[in-house]
Symmetry: none
Subunit: 199 residues, 4 copies
């Protein structure tokens, strides 16, 4: 039983909200990010501009919300990584999946847009970490802790550092387009990480 203040306009609200986020996502994947404008989002969503500004303070916020909403829908609540007992194999799986994601043009544009925004806005960066990166990292760290118990990872390893050594090279290579993102590359990152933090 909700105890909202006004009458229940929530249905309309929700519909327009979803339309806005969907429009934002569509535009980010279609166009140059520079060309994504609040007016275009509003037009695409069939919504007045004011309806957007009522909810979000800036274009950046809408776009970030749109991208974060993507993952909120995806996961029921918690993310879990596979745990076959073979850490190398499990990490390799995750890394290869990440490589594939980055190869998808839509995803590529989406994540570049997201990074453009959070690089220049500390508040959005915090929201990104809390809502998106945080839960994912937590899931990965859970897998790493399991590996520590199984003696496949140094028990005193700083798990944040482990994740960074594993993931940051891949991400940066993608962001700066400084090299090819191949399966072999993903594997060699897993290897390096295990050498650095193995038991």
């Amino acid at each position: 039983m909700s105890k909202e203040k006004g009458p229940d306009h929530s249905r309309r609200k929700e519909r327009s909200r979803q339309a806005i986020l969907a429009a934002a996502r569509a535009l980010v994947t279609e166009e140059t990010y520079e060309k994504v404008t609040v007016e275009a989002i509003a037009a695409r969503a069939g919504v007045g501009k004011q309806t957007i500004y009522r909810r979000w303070p800036s274009k950046s916020a809408v776009v970030v919300a749109a991208l974060l909403a993507l993952s909120e829908d995806a996961d029921g609540q918690s993310v879990t990584l596979p745990d076959t007992g073979d850490l190398r194999a499990d990490l390799g799986l995750v890394m290869r999946a990440t490589v594939e994601e980055f190869a998808d043009p839509s995803f590529d544009k989406l994540i570049r847009a997201l990074n453009t925004e959070i690089a220049n806005d500390a508040a959005l960066a915090a929201e990104y970490r809390e809502k998106l990166a945080g839960p994912l990292d937590e899931a990965k760290k859970a897998r790493l802790r399991s590996a520590q118990k199984a003696g496949q990872l140094a028990s005193d390893a700083d798990l944040d550092l482990v994740l960074e050594v594993l993931y940051a090279p891949l991400f940066l290579r993608w962001l700066h387009r400084s090299g090819p993102l191949t399966t072999a590359y993903a594997d060699s990152l897993v290897d390096a990480t295990l050498r650095a933090f193995g038991p």
Copy 2:
């Protein structure tokens, strides 16, 4: 004796060019990057807008050129890293210097602006790699090769990968503000890298 290609408009050209780049740098460090406009750069440089558009196709290009010019001036030609024979110490020095750079607010804003641009423009990214990242990486790889000869690094190590494992975690932590950039953190990255690629 210079043997330049074009006619010698060079004096005026060069003066206005430098004024534009300096103005761009100044504005990027002073203001929100969003607020850096071509008009503001022109006004600050005491230059007509057309003089900017004659040379660069967009604000992005000016800003990137401005930042790249910084380092072009800095190095006479070649960058060399210290080589004391102690790889761990030398890398630690470089990494701690990087941490300090990122702590400088001006530098922070400059590099964020640069990354915003190159993340969304493959051509600018290529220019960045060629003019700025490339030479630096080459210098670092020279030091690593020296270490390989000295038996301090696996002789079959992929040096690009080594550099990524060393540097990308630091860079990403800075870009996403996902953790503190401390001297200890720099050292632990050197340690991890040496464990991963040591002999």
Copy 3:
């Protein structure tokens, strides 16, 4: 009982419209006509440029509208000329009034601007004739018709021609500054006209 067509944005619309036209008039009287710019009009009116471009296609159109609006306000609906029964006296009155108008620096600039525009744009010329010159000429022709009935003017005179012979010399002398505009000159034009088209 108003039965307007559109929605009632009329208040804002009308306020900005009047501000624009007033600003245009003010600038035309103050500055060289060449120096009247859309930006200056917008600034003076406290209005965005787009608000001007939304309504008029060019600076010319704004200026013409501004000047036409002047007379639209002035006359309730119909213009009537004095009819004392003495044609010579009545025409003399009108011509001397015209001479006085042309002697007013503000009016001079306004009318020069108007003529600059309509000389080079047939559409604006048509609008000028319909809205401004037409009604005035109609009023004058009414007076001439009355004179024809009174036997003071040839009954077969082409009234348009009569008006031209009366008025064009004055206008052209003013436009080309080819001679002084005096009361005596006005009178001699009336005399010539009456000689040419008298009974």
Copy 4:
């Protein structure tokens, strides 16, 4: 053997001068007058902009000079009107010739441009009167004086006024496009003038 002041750059000077004036004339007849720019004139004439600004202070001056030059070439020195002894016939000839000129699209554009400039610049207007209108009017007045001697025109008629009554209605009708310019119209102006100023 000319004894010019400098060395014999006079040939080049004259050639570029003619090229500039010809280009100005060509552009005025081809394009909207608004689109005639100093840059376009220079390019068309194969001349640097500075060569134009060295000689004339503004675009207006160039255009006026270009048009005035037209008639300077035309008349050897003096203009003379036909004098058959029949004033009505002679004036009719001149007026009908004027109607034909105004019907020529090139001439129309040229004269509109000229009028645009002189309406807003008293100095140019004076130059126009002195160089172009003056001599023509003088020729016409010579014919009128001959008519006065022959008793075809009131001996005390103000010849300037006669010319205005004759010519201004035609000119204004053309300038404001307020009516058709026909042969009949030209004749009726001659008739009216002769009625007004006949003996």
